[in-house]
């Protein structure tokens, strides 16, 4: 129920903000070439650009709930058709990246908290670097080393066929995941260290429970709750936040589509991609809630 309200409010904000943005749909429709008043009027009539805000919004929403986001001003094609191949690319990229973030992030964080000494220090240093290197620099370094020098991976593109796509998206997902892995690692480490100091852990240890059992049941399980919530937010952000990596690797994902649509005033596409991003947030948020409820019975789903 919350999710529906969030999506509705977001849809008003998304639709409304484009009314206030500089530029005009006519720019997109005429590819930026100046046109005379007559042509302009014809285009405005064809694309229903003169109706009041509320009328346009209701009209748009009515079609959007049925999966029809209108026609792209730039591509002369349905927005759904423009987005379809990109959703697949983004889905694979985000999945690969999420796996990296969850597995590498949580693992490195837990190890850093539990294994003090050189290993822990090394992880902390690596995380600091991961947080410090901007995504585009990471992308270019990875391309320079693994594509241009070693020829292990392609420089650009998202490939065709599942195996080929995974091969094409390996470097992008590493570049994209780097910062998030470090962030989740840090968070996991802090969370695990916090749990280790809690009374119930001391009690469990004092009762003579084996260390492995204490760590698994009393430390990691509790520490996982804030980390899961944060991971959800990080992963939801990746859906459109991948724009820099997508541009650097010339991938046709939703992020770069959003950026290019904004640059070209392609309003129907901007609206659709933004709405998909909001939906992703809501869905991932729901999944996170379910996982948290499983981890801690005290948390209930409404």
């Amino acid at each position: 129920m919350h999710g529906v309200v969030v999506v509705l409010v977001a849809s008003v904000v998304i639709f409304g903000s484009l009314f206030l943005a500089p530029g005009s749909p006519i720019t997109a429709l005429t590819a930026g070439r100046p046109v005379d008043a007559h042509t302009r009027a014809l285009l405005e009539a064809r694309y229903d650009l003169n109706a009041p805000f509320v009328v346009q919004y209701v009209h748009w929403l009515g079609h959007a709930v049925r999966g029809d986001f209108g026609t792209s001003y730039v591509e002369s094609e349905s927005v759904t058709a423009v987005m379809a191949p990109r959703i697949a690319t983004t889905l694979i990229l985000v999945t690969m990246c999420s796996l990296l973030v969850i597995v590498a992030g949580m693992l490195s964080g837990a190890v850093a908290a539990l294994k003090r000494g050189p290993i822990g220090t090394a992880i902390v240093v690596a995380e600091a670097i991961g947080l410090g290197v901007p995504t585009f620099v990471a992308s270019l370094l990875l391309i320079a080393i693994f594509s241009v020098q070693l020829h292990w991976f392609p420089v650009f593109g998202s490939g065709s066929g599942f195996i080929d796509e995974v091969w094409h998206l390996t470097l992008p997902s590493v570049a994209l995941a780097l910062g998030s892995v470090a962030y989740i690692g840090r968070l996991t480490q802090a969370s695990v260290e916090g749990e280790l100091r809690k009374e119930h852990v001391t009690t469990a240890t004092a009762r003579g429970l084996p260390r492995g059992r204490v760590i698994r049941r009393h430390v990691l399980r509790n520490a996982a709750i804030p980390v899961t919530t944060a991971s959800g937010i990080v992963i939801a952000y990746l859906v459109v936040g991948a724009a820099v990596v997508e541009t650097a690797f010339s991938l046709n994902g939703l992020g770069s589509l959003l950026v290019s649509s904004i640059a070209q005033d392609d309003f129907p596409v901007i609206q659709a991609v933004s709405l998909v991003a909001v939906l992703a947030f809501v869905v991932i948020g729901f999944v996170v809630d379910v996982i948290c409820a499983r981890l801690d019975p005290r948390i209930t789903l409404e």
Binding site: P22, T27, G32, S76, P85, R86
Partner: protein
């Protein structure tokens, strides 16, 4: 058509490294500001790999500080001047596939009425024939119009080549030609060619099975020449009508007569064309079975893709990577003639006082210095906004002499500065600073804008540079209301489709929506413009054009700054096409492509 008389391009010399943008509205813009830093990061990594082995450099390069500090050194490296090359070696064999990039980005629908930007025209010219073509020497030569006649000053009669077939096997008729041209002038279609040239056409009529007659309101040679651009592209009537609004979009494609057929278009990924086995022009038989167009806009990614051979070639190669592309064994960078310039457009007021202020500004700007700071010395100063150093081969001597005259008049820095200060003193104190808009996020644009402001202030013209987002800059091209708030627009996109200076003059100085300043030719100059446009003899036409241009130059509404040549990169396995600018999108140059060895 006139006999070939070109001499200029091979001998003209300027520097290299000229970032040229078409009407870019690509994702690249958003991260271009960091491009230079990023490029340096890559260069550091790469040079390190050569010197110190793989893993040391990973460790070294990961520290962001190293990368950032290394940047200044790399970007300030200078380049030796380079002669312009028009032609590349002829191919020695056939190839199965060539991958070519469109650095301006993915095309909008491949419909000739919507295709104004370079990407679309570049792809369309491989598939669709026009009535004429523009060849590498910038001459307008016959294409689908086998011949034409000009029975009276208002009439152009085109005789269409017999025996030409569309890809679907249907024969090309005068009806298809008339239909295609009518689309360009029908206001309901809203073609990008409607203004300012389309409206000069009074009517289009099929006057024979293979004949079409175009009538103009006034005697008009420009209309005839424009048949060599996208305006003269012929598409199949039946297919176009059936496709309706979907014509040219990724799923529908186009139906034309050209040497390559539309095969597929995966949005965001690629456009694939395949050889048309029944192409009518035996002289242009393709030597490549398949051409794949990619849309890599990011300069660094494109450079890497060219260096690794994942992309075979591109026009408009990244300006920021000229040094790398010139020194790689992976291919060859050619710098060729183009009809392209960077300049200022006065979009503000229109009084005599402003004419003098703008005149002072034009004199105050040190063009060679701009070429140095913005283009690493790779562009040449220019003083006319429509007559380029390389232009209109039929009348090259007239235009070259005119350009030399302008250089002599405006090329003396000390005299210019004195005159600029004198004009400013005459005008009196300027209280409100001039506002100059440029596109945010592009290194060259911000560097040039900053230099202009400094030079203006040095002669006493208060000035302010205003960076705007691409969408807001585009709005300036479109809406007079949006232009009202600013005085000047710094544009790197003042290229023309054609080699006849009258096209740029029509776009810039006739009344109509393409005229961004509100300044129009005064009556006497307009008479000369019309007379020039009615004159067939190229030399006389050029002399009249020069006379009009002198008035345009004096108006100072278009302040030309730098002439920017074309950069074409060809990977080592391919050769053939020319490094010439209008040719890139008004000639089926993929037919020239082939194996280098």
């Amino acid at each position: 058509m006139e006999p070939p008389t070109i001499a200029g391009p091979e001998t003209y010399v300027v520097g290299t490294e000229t970032p040229k943008s078409g009407r870019i509205r690509s994702t690249a813009r958003t991260i271009v500001a960091v491009r230079r830093i990023a490029l340096c990061a890559r260069l550091v990594a790469r040079s390190g790999l050569r010197q110190r082995g793989r893993w040391t450099v990973v460790a070294a390069a990961i520290g962001s500080a190293t990368i950032l500090s290394a940047c200044g050194g790399v970007s300030s490296s200078s380049n030796a001047p380079l002669a312009l090359t028009t032609y590349t070696p002829a191919p020695k064999g056939e190839l199965a596939n060539v991958v070519w990039d469109l650095p301006i980005g993915e095309p909008v629908p491949l419909d000739p009425t919507k295709d104004w930007n370079p990407s679309e025209n570049e792809v369309l010219a491989q598939m669709c024939d026009s009535l004429f073509r523009i060849n590498a020497a910038m001459q307008i030569v016959p294409d689908l119009a086998e011949s034409y006649s000009h029975p009276n000053p208002l009439t152009w009669v085109y005789n269409i080549r017999p025996g030409v077939k569309f890809w679907d096997g249907k024969p090309l008729t005068g009806k298809d030609v008339a239909y295609s041209l009518e689309r360009q002038i029908n206001p309901a279609v809203g073609s990008v060619y409607l203004q300012p040239v389309g409206v000069m056409i009074a009517g289009v009529k099929q006057t024979g099975p293979l004949q079409v007659t175009v009538t103009t309101h006034k005697p008009n040679v420009l209309v005839n020449e424009m048949m060599g651009t996208g305006m003269g592209v012929v598409t199949e009537e039946a297919f176009t009508k059936a496709a309706g609004n979907n014509y040219g979009n990724p799923q529908t494609g186009v139906m034309c007569t050209g040497p390559f057929e539309f095969k597929s278009w995966t949005p965001g990924q690629q456009i694939v064309l395949v050889r048309n086995p029944h192409y009518w022009d035996a002289a242009l038989e393709p030597k490549v079975a398949r051409v794949t167009f990619k849309f890599v806009t990011d300069s660094s990614t494109l450079t890497d893709a060219l260096l690794t051979g994942e992309i075979d070639g591109t026009y408009d190669a990244p300006g920021s990577s000229v040094t790398e592309l010139r020194n790689t064994p992976a291919g060859h960078l050619y710098v060729g003639p183009a009809t392209d310039l960077a300049g200022l457009v006065a979009i503000g007021g229109n009084t005599n006082r402003e004419t003098r202020i703008l005149g002072a500004l034009s004199l105050a700007i040190n063009r060679p210095a701009l070429a140095k700071v913005g283009y690493s010395g790779a562009a040449a100063p220019i003083y006319s906004s429509s007559v380029f150093p390389i232009h209109y081969p039929q009348a090259a001597p007239v235009y070259q002499a005119y350009n030399q005259e302008l250089s002599k008049e405006f090329g003396q820095r000390t005299v210019n500065l004195q005159e600029a200060r004198r004009l400013v003193a005459q005008v009196g104190k300027i209280t409100k600073p001039l506002t100059m808009v440029y596109t945010a996020g592009i290194t060259t644009e911000s560097v040039v804008a900053t230099a202009i402001v400094a030079e203006a202030q040095a002669v006493g013209i208060p000035m302010q540079a205003v960076p705007l987002q691409p969408a807001a800059v585009n709005a300036l091209y479109l809406s007079p209301a949006a232009r009202k708030n600013y005085d000047l627009l710094l544009s790197f996109e003042l290229w023309t489709d054609m080699t006849d200076p009258l096209e740029a003059m029509a776009v810039n100085t006739l009344p109509g929506p393409t005229n961004l300043s509100r300044w129009t030719l005064p009556p006497a100059a307009l008479r000369e413009f019309n007379e020039a446009n009615a004159t067939l003899n190229p030399t006389k036409r050029a002399e009249l054009t020069v006379a009009v241009d002198k008035v345009v130059v004096k108006s100072n509404r278009y302040i030309p700054l730098l002439y920017t040549p074309e950069r074409m990169f060809l990977g080592k396995r391919i050769t053939g096409p020319s490094a010439s600018w209008p040719y890139a999108f008004h000639y089926p140059w993929t037919t020239q492509l082939g194996a280098a060895g």
